[in-house]
């Protein structure tokens, strides 16, 4: 070093007095560290906001305002209603009379007409008629009917609709809220746990109250069966070949390049592949969980192959050498010794791959697994694979794209259910890793 550079530091600090330049450097050091802390805090903040908004908006989906009314239908009333031309209308009138009676019994008098009831409940007549036609022995017995209230009544209970924001329309009028209040006071409209949301099927566009995610959960389940049954054996076989047997040549390189590129191909491109190859070319049924499973299998294969290869690589060579040394063939070494030792890691990777596939939406939309298809449970195992159905994320997307705000709540609720599945799968994966993974 030259003397000139020494001159550029005029005043030297000591250990006890800190000079200006050191102060500046120390401040820069602190600032830099603070940036890092702030960045992590921002990341965590986003996570918390996401979790809070999911829980706050989603939990109301698990309750539903219902009108519960117990009444007795006599044989004469049944016969009278069945003899009318507009049968469901007749049942609706019976229901209104019974409701009036119940209200007078509780000492409440509210005036309402049939139109108001239809705004609150939809058309209750057909539900009641179907019940009595299916169970004629219940005529003359006291029966409690639980009828889901309309999305606006539901929204009123959950604070989504208030007296200030309600807009008069043919769906709802502000005066109906008085009726709702009276019925709530009488204990006729109550908020119950909404089992139908968990077990039900998708409903019509303007009936969010009846929408449930059950059928699309089954659709997702059958898809995951296909993915598991195909991607696990194929992925493990491919990894064993690449890790244990593949010679160093152009073919192996080609496979490796393909796998690493497929891992980064956007998921929607797999949807295009599924549409063009499985549906247009092979004429497999549209919207079927089988096709969805095939597409997701191709999508998850790279993930499973990459994690399986990592766990095969983690088995120490001494195991292989010992097996070969006592006379096992190469194939026996791999299948009898290496594979069992790598199994926990492979399983963990597979579960994580499945969890990824479970949350995937875009490719499913392209092969027609949109939400409104999920109308009924499949009849059996075969029908579960080939009959049109939806999947959880696609169902959530369909709800999110609808106009009625009641569906938004369902979409958030669906996300809670989806995340519960994902969380369970990831926890199983973590437990497997903790308990069985060996460190060499």
């Amino acid at each position: 070093m030259t003397d000139a550079s020494m001159d550029s530091v005029p005043v030297k600090g000591t250990l006890t007095t800190v000079d200006a330049r050191t102060k500046k450097r120390n401040a820069a050091e602190k600032r830099f560290k603070a940036y890092g802390i702030v960045a992590i805090l921002i990341g965590l903040f986003f996570l918390v906001v996401l979790a809070v908004s999911i829980l706050r908006s989603g939990i109301p989906a698990f309750t539903q305002a219902e009108m519960q009314l117990e009444f007795v239908l006599t044989q004469e009333e049944f016969d009278a209603a069945e003899s009318q031309v507009l049968k469901t209308k007749a049942y609706e009138n019976i229901f209104i009379t019974k409701l009036q009676d119940a209200l007078t019994e509780k000492g409440l008098t509210v005036a309402f007409d049939a139109a108001a009831i239809e705004r609150l409940l939809g058309k209750p007549g057909s539900t009641i008629r179907e019940f009595y036609r299916a169970n004629p022995d219940q005529i003359g017995q006291p029966v409690t009917f639980s009828l889901p209230a309309s999305s606006r009544v539901d929204g009123y209970f959950k604070g989504r609709v208030s007296r200030d924001t309600v807009v008069d329309s043919r769906f709802f009028e502000a005066s109906d809220l008085d009726l709702v209040d009276a019925l709530a006071d009488a204990g006729i409209i109550v908020r119950n746990f909404n089992w139908n949301f968990i077990t039900g099927s998708d409903s019509g566009v303007d009936h969010p109250g009846g929408a449930g995610i059950g059928v699309s959960v089954i659709g997702s389940f059958f898809m995951m069966l296909v993915v598991l049954a195909l991607s696990l054996p194929i992925g493990v076989a491919a990894s064993i070949y690449l890790e244990e047997f593949a010679p160093q040549n152009w073919f192996t390189d080609l496979i490796e390049v393909n796998i690493s590129n497929l891992a980064a191909v956007p998921s929607i491109v797999f949807g295009i592949l599924g549409l063009a190859v499985f549906i247009q070319f092979m004429h497999l049924p549209q919207s079927a969980p089988l096709v969805g499973g095939l597409v997701l299998t191709l999508m998850t294969l790279p993930t499973i192959i990459i994690s399986t290869r990592a766990s095969l690589k983690a088995v120490p060579p001494s195991i292989r050498e010992a097996a070969l040394g006592v006379g096992a063939s190469k194939m026996q070494t791999v299948f009898h010794h290496v594979l069992p030792l790598a199994a926990p890691g492979i399983l963990t990777g597979t579960i994580i791959g499945l969890a990824q596939a479970l949350g995937e939406t875009a490719p499913l939309l392209l092969i027609g697994m949109v939400g409104f298809i999920a109308r009924a449970y499949p009849e059996g195992v075969v029908s579960g694979f080939i009959d049109p159905n939806s999947a959880m994320p696609a169902q959530i997307y369909t709800w999110a794209a609808r106009a009625d705000a009641g569906f938004y709540e369902k979409a958030w609720g669906g996300i809670i259910i989806l995340l519960i599945f994902l969380l369970t799968m990831n926890i199983i994966a973590i437990i497997l890793r903790r308990r069985f993974e060996r460190r060499w």
Partner: protein, 490 residues
């Protein structure tokens, strides 16, 4: 389902052959197993393999080939005159398939006997009536050529499946017999079985190549088809995206530029959010954080990566969008019209990409040798100076690679933009405008009811091709940079 039964039958034959071959070789060896070349199970496996694998292979190939053959031969039955002006051959073929399914349904429900369904001189109106009685979806009056074709379709398919069943079972039995005949104590059963397994392993590994091939072929063929209907130059250089809805007529403007602009704008916003946060998190976690903080914060950030994109989409649509509108909307600054905008989608996508950038950069920063840091400390540099002047420059190529990978992820992301960015394709600089992307338009063009032969549907494949090429290019470039950098320190 007869197909399931056929597969089970083949497997049962294989299992039977396994037991038989194993018993046979044991009987031949007498009581002394040492005379066998391989373990007894290998003799069984050899016979089972020869019985099941060729049979199942033929089954799969037949199942793929038969619809193709039936389609071409049925298609030949329909004269050009029978195809209506507004229709196309593929639509008529779909109609034929529907009618054939309707005939099957009618037989299943007892509205028609097998002979009636095959009767070539059947009365059209009678058939139509019976089909709708059976609950089959028959769109219009079934026309004569369509009914003939549907009948032929059923006959061909039925005989095809019969022949297939016979051939597959024959192959299974013949293969099994071959395997059993080979079974002698000196036969090298293990070597043969292991060779067979090795072929299966190679086949499994080749699926990756087949997938890529499938993607490329399905994109290329449909893209060529699209460019036959719509000029390529207008697609690549058109500045207007206005597809006409099928059936309404009118020409469509299918220029990709507004979509590409939307895609890049949203990705850039996402990267502006994700890169600083992700990079600083990675620096803090790898250089400053105590093991305890690291063990907590790293998995927490990675949770963000495990959340499905549909959740982010909903978050953008229902939480972030309204929040931004309340600040920048008409009540606030007045820059924003609706909740769906470039900013909404970009911000949420940025959140999604934070863990992606941070864990990749974390790995790369950790890969910088400790000796370089120690050298810098030895010269009197503070920790932040070391990071800025030594670690980051050394890690720079890797970090650039990580950012490129994140960019490719952002360009290919679908659900966030479908829900959060809006549907209007426009070329605008305002980040609070609604714009749309390539992926969002692929979804909207392919989920409608439009006919697959129309340019409005086929354009999705051209968009997919563009997307595939861009992301592939970015990935290869990024991996090249990362790999080149890794070699420096290994």
């Amino acid at each position: 389902m007869p197909l399931l039964w056929l597969i089970l039958l083949v497997l049962a034959i294989a299992a039977g052959v396994f037991i038989f071959a194993r018993a046979r070789v044991l009987a031949q060896s007498g009581q002394d197993r040492r005379t066998l070349h391989s373990l007894p199970n290998y003799y069984g496996s050899n016979a089972a393999m020869k019985s099941a694998i060729p049979a199942l292979l033929v089954l799969v190939i037949w199942l793929i080939a038969q619809p193709l053959y039936v389609n071409t031969s049925v298609s030949g039955m329909i004269p050009d005159t029978a195809i209506a002006e507004s229709s196309s051959r593929s639509l008529v073929l779909a109609e034929v398939r529907r009618t054939a399914e309707g005939l099957d349904l009618a037989i299943a429900t007892g509205n028609m006997t097998e002979d009636e369904a095959r009767n070539m001189r059947a009365d059209i109106s009678d058939v139509t009536q019976r089909l709708s009685d059976a609950g089959a979806i028959v769109t219009s009056q079934v026309t004569q050529p369509v009914l003939r074709a549907a009948q032929q379709f059923r006959v061909l398919n039925a005989t095809g499946y019969q022949i297939m069943t016979a051939v597959v079972l024959l192959i299974a039995i013949a293969g099994g017999l071959w395997g059993v005949r080979e079974t002698r104590p000196e036969f090298r059963a293990r070597n043969v079985v292991e060779q067979g397994i090795c072929v299966l392993l190679i086949a499994a590994a080749s699926i990756a190549i087949l997938t890529t091939l499938g993607i490329v072929l399905s994109l290329v063929f449909n893209t060529i088809e699209f460019f036959r209907l719509y000029p390529a130059s207008e697609f690549f250089f058109g500045t207007s995206w206005a597809p006409s809805f099928s059936g309404r007529g009118g020409a469509s403007d299918l220029g990709i530029l507004p979509l590409l602009w939307g895609t890049f704008y949203i990705s850039i916003v996402a990267l502006i959010v994700a890169v600083p946060i992700g990079l600083f998190s990675a620096i803090y976690l790898s250089e400053y954080a105590s093991p305890k903080v690291r063990a907590f914060a790293k998995p927490m950030l990675e949770v963000l990566a495990g959340i499905p994109t549909i959740v982010y989409g909903l978050f953008a649509l229902l939480t972030v969008g309204p929040l931004l509108v309340s600040v920048f909307g008409d009540d606030g600054l007045g820059w924003m019209q609706a909740g769906t905008a470039v900013m909404t989608a970009g911000l949420v996508m940025g959140i999604m990409l934070i863990p992606f950038v941070s864990s990749l950069s974390d790995d790369i920063i950790n890969a910088v040798p400790q000796a370089m840091r120690d050298g810098s400390y030895g010269l009197g540099a503070t920790q932040s100076e070391t990071i800025r002047q030594v670690v980051l420059p050394a890690a720079l190529p890797g970090i650039v690679g990580a950012i490129l990978l994140a960019a490719s992820r952002a360009i290919g992301e679908t659900m966030i933009v479908v829900l959060g960015a809006g549907a209007a394709a426009r070329l605008s600089l305002n980040p609070f405008d609604a714009m749309t992307t390539v992926t969002a338009k692929i979804v909207s063009q392919l989920t409608g009811d439009s006919d697959f032969a129309s340019p409005e549907a086929l354009v999705a494949f051209a968009l997919g091709m563009t997307l595939f090429v861009i992301t592939l290019g970015l990935n290869i470039f990024a991996l090249y940079i990362v790999r080149k950098y890794r070699e420096q320190y290994e």
